[in-house]
C-alpha cells in the first residue's frame, strides 16, 4: 500500500466525468427501493429478490467494473501509468494499492448503499440488510481482482468487463444452471445466505466451496495482474 499511489488513483477515479457514473448506479438502486417501499404495501416477499437480482447481479458488478478499471485501465489507456512505472516501486505495491482503493470505493458506493437499500425495503430486518452488505463486499473484492487483471491484460478491459458483468453475472449467473456455479454473484449469495434467515435467499453453491472459489479468484487475479504489470509493454507512438 502506497499513499501517494492511492491519492493519484482517487484523483483519476473522481477527477473526471466518468466518476459520476459511480454515484449514479447506487443512486438508481436506492431510488428504486424508495419507490417500491412507498408504492407496495408488503415488500417482504420481493425485497431479497430485488437485492439479489438487481443489487448483487447488476449494481455490484458494474460499480466494481467502474472502480477497478477506473483505477487502473484508464491510466494504462491514456499512458499516465508511465509516471508510476518509471519509479523504483514494486509492481505488487502498485496493483495492491489500486485494488485496495477500488475495494474502498466499492464499500462506500456499493456495500453501504446495499445495506441502506435493505433497510429501506424492510426496516425490521437489519440482519438481512447487513448480510447483503457483506455479500457485496466479498463479491466486490473478487470482482476487483478480476477487473484489475483484465485492466492489465487487455486494452478493451471496460468492454470485455461490461460484457462479462452483464451477460455472465447478470443473466447466466442467475438463470443458467451450469453458469451459476461459476459466478461470483452466486458465491457471494452463499455468504449472504449463511448470514441471514430470510427464506428466499438461496445460492446454488455451498458456502465452503463458494469461499474457496472467492479466495482463489481473488488471489489468481491479483497475482496475474502483478506479473503482467511487471512485463507491461508501453506502446510507442510509432
Amino acid at each position: 500500500m502506497n499513499v501517494t499511489i492511492a491519492r493519484l488513483t482517487m484523483s483519476t477515479l473522481f477527477g473526471h466525468r466518468r466518476g459520476l457514473l459511480l454515484f449514479i448506479l447506487p443512486a438508481v438502486l436506492l431510488v428504486l427501493c424508495v419507490l417500491l417501499a412507498l408504492t407496495v404495501d408488503d415488500t417482504a416477499d420481493f425485497s431479497t429478490a430485488l437485492l439479489q437480482m438487481f443489487g448483487l447481479a447488476v449494481i455490484v458488478p458494474l460499480v466494481s467494473l467502474l472502480a477497478a478499471t477506473g483505477a487502473l485501465a484508464s491510466e494504462i489507456d491514456d499512458g499516465s501509468i508511465v509516471y508510476l512505472l518509471s519509479k523504483p516501486i514494486k509492481r505488487s505495491t502498485i496493483i495492491v494499492t489500486k485494488a485496495l482503493v477500488a475495494v474502498a470505493v466499492i464499500i462506500v458506493l456499493a456495500a453501504v448503499p446495499m445495506v441502506i437499500a435493505g433497510l429501506i425495503l424492510d426496516f425490521g430486518d437489519p440482519q438481512t440488510a447487513l448480510a447483503f452488505g457483506a455479500g457485496t463486499l466479498v463479491a466486490g473484492i473478487a470482482y476487483t481482482a478480476i477487473f484489475t487483471a483484465l485492466s492489465v491484460m487487455s486494452g478493451n478491459a471496460v468492454t470485455i468487463g461490461l460484457i462479462y458483468a452483464l451477460l455472465w453475472e447478470g443473466v447466466m449467473g442467475q438463470y443458467v444452471g451450469g453458469a451459476k456455479a461459476l459466478s461470483v454473484q452466486q458465491w457471494s449469495l452463499a455468504v449472504v445466505q449463511h448470514l441471514t434467515d430470510a427464506p428466499h435467499v438461496k445460492s446454488d453453491v455451498k458456502l465452503p466451496i463458494a469461499l474457496i472459489l472467492l479466495v482463489a479468484v481473488t488471489l489468481v487475479g491479483i497475482t496475474l495482474a502483478i506479473s503482467r504489470l511487471r512485463s507491461l509493454v508501453l506502446s510507442t507512438a510509432e
Binding site: L8, S11, D78, S231, T236
Partner: protein, 304 residues
C-alpha cells in the same frame, strides 16, 4: 556519470522490424536521436526506459539491463511523449507526487526546486488541465528531474512548443548536459538537434545510420556528393584541372566563385592542394556550401 549501452538490439512487432541491429553508446552530455517519423526512435527510447524488451540484444544502464529492473528508475528521468498526466492535480501536486514515488527524503523541497528549474513556479498552483502544451511539457520535465537523475530521456520534447519555450528547453538541456548528466532526446527536426546536441545518433528505417557530431557524420559520408566553393587566383584553370579528376562530378563558374560537386571527399581533400601547387594557383578559400544537418539527413534518407 551514466552510460546507456545498446548492444546489437533488434525489435520487431510481428513481421514489422522497428529497430534493426542497432549498437550505440550514450554517454554524458546531450545526445540527439535523430530520424524521420517512424524510424524507430520511440521504440529505442522506450527500450532505454525499460518499457519494452528488445527482441534480441541488450539495453543496459551502467552495465545493468533496464528491462524489468525497477531500481534503474532511481537513475533515470523520463519525459514521455504522451501528453496524459494526472491533470486534475496542480503542477505542484503532480511533481510532489513524483518526488514521493521516488522515495525522496524531502519531497516538498525537491518538487519546489524542480519546478523552479523549469521556471514554472508562478503556475505551480494551477491545475495541469489549464496548462498550455508547452507548460505541460515543462511540468513533465520537472517531474522527471525531481530526483536529479543521472540519465534524462526525452521523447520528442519539442513537439508543440512555441519558439520561446523551445529556446528555454534547449537552454535547460544544455545546462543539464554540461552538468555531466546523460541526456538523450529524440527529434525529427534537424535544427533542434543541431542546436542542442553535442552528439548525434541518426536512425533511419530502424537502422543506425550515423553517429558523431554533425560535422563528423558528414565526414563519415565520404561517398556523399558535396558542393564545395573555391576561390583562387585562377578559378577557370583550377576548374578544368578538377573536372579532369574522377573525384568531382561537376563544376560551375557562374556564381562568381568556382563551385565543385565533389563525389569522393577523401580524394578531393588530398588532390586540391597538390593540384593548386602544381598549377601555381593560389587557393583563397575552400569551403563546403551546405554544412547543415538538413543536407546530411536528406542524403542519408535518400540513400536508402
Amino acid at each position: 556519470m551514466s552510460v546507456i549501452q545498446i548492444d546489437q538490439v533488434s525489435r520487431w512487432y510481428g513481421n514489422v522490424v522497428a529497430v534493426n541491429d542497432v549498437t550505440m553508446t550514450i554517454g554524458p552530455g546531450v545526445t540527439g536521436l535523430l530520424g524521420p517519423n517512424g524510424a524507430g526512435k520511440s521504440t529505442l527510447i522506450t527500450m532505454m526506459a525499460g518499457f519494452l524488451p528488445p527482441s534480441t540484444g541488450t539495453v543496459t544502464l551502467d552495465g545493468v539491463p533496464v528491462w524489468q529492473n525497477q531500481a534503474a528508475y532511481r537513475h533515470i528521468g523520463l519525459v514521455p511523449e504522451t501528453e496524459a498526466v494526472y491533470d486534475t492535480l496542480t503542477g505542484a501536486q503532480f511533481v510532489r507526487a513524483n518526488a514521493e514515488l521516488q522515495g525522496l527524503s524531502n519531497p516538498a523541497a525537491a518538487a519546489t526546486a524542480a519546478i523552479s528549474t523549469v521556471e514554472l513556479t508562478d503556475a505551480a498552483k494551477r491545475r495541469i488541465s489549464t496548462y498550455s502544451k508547452g507548460m505541460k511539457q515543462r511540468i513533465k520535465m520537472a517531474a522527471a528531474l525531481v530526483h536529479e537523475p543521472s540519465v534524462l530521456l526525452l521523447d520528442e520534447p519539442f513537439n508543440g512548443m512555441d519558439p520561446r519555450q523551445r529556446l528555454h528547453l534547449m537552454d535547460l538541456l544544455r545546462k543539464i548536459g554540461a552538468d555531466g548528466r546523460t541526456v538523450l532526446f529524440s527529434s525529427h527536426i534537424l535544427e533542434e538537434v543541431q542546436q542542442v546536441a553535442t552528439h548525434i545518433e541518426v536512425v533511419i528505417s530502424g537502422r543506425h545510420a550515423a553517429s558523431g557530431d554533425y560535422r563528423a557524420i558528414r565526414t563519415l559520408m565520404t561517398d556523399r556528393p558535396v558542393l564545395y566553393r573555391l576561390r583562387s587566383s585562377d578559378d577557370r584553370r583550377l576548374a578544368s584541372a578538377l573536372i579532369a579528376d574522377p573525384c568531382t562530378s561537376g563544376a560551375d563558374l557562374a556564381a562568381g566563385a568556382l563551385q565543385v560537386q565533389v563525389a569522393d571527399f577523401e580524394r578531393f581533400s588530398r588532390i586540391v592542394p597538390a593540384l593548386a601547387r602544381d598549377l601555381g594557383i593560389r587557393l583563397l578559400e575552400v569551403a563546403p556550401t551546405d554544412e547543415s544537418l538538413e543536407s546530411v539527413f536528406s542524403y542519408l534518407v535518400g540513400r536508402r
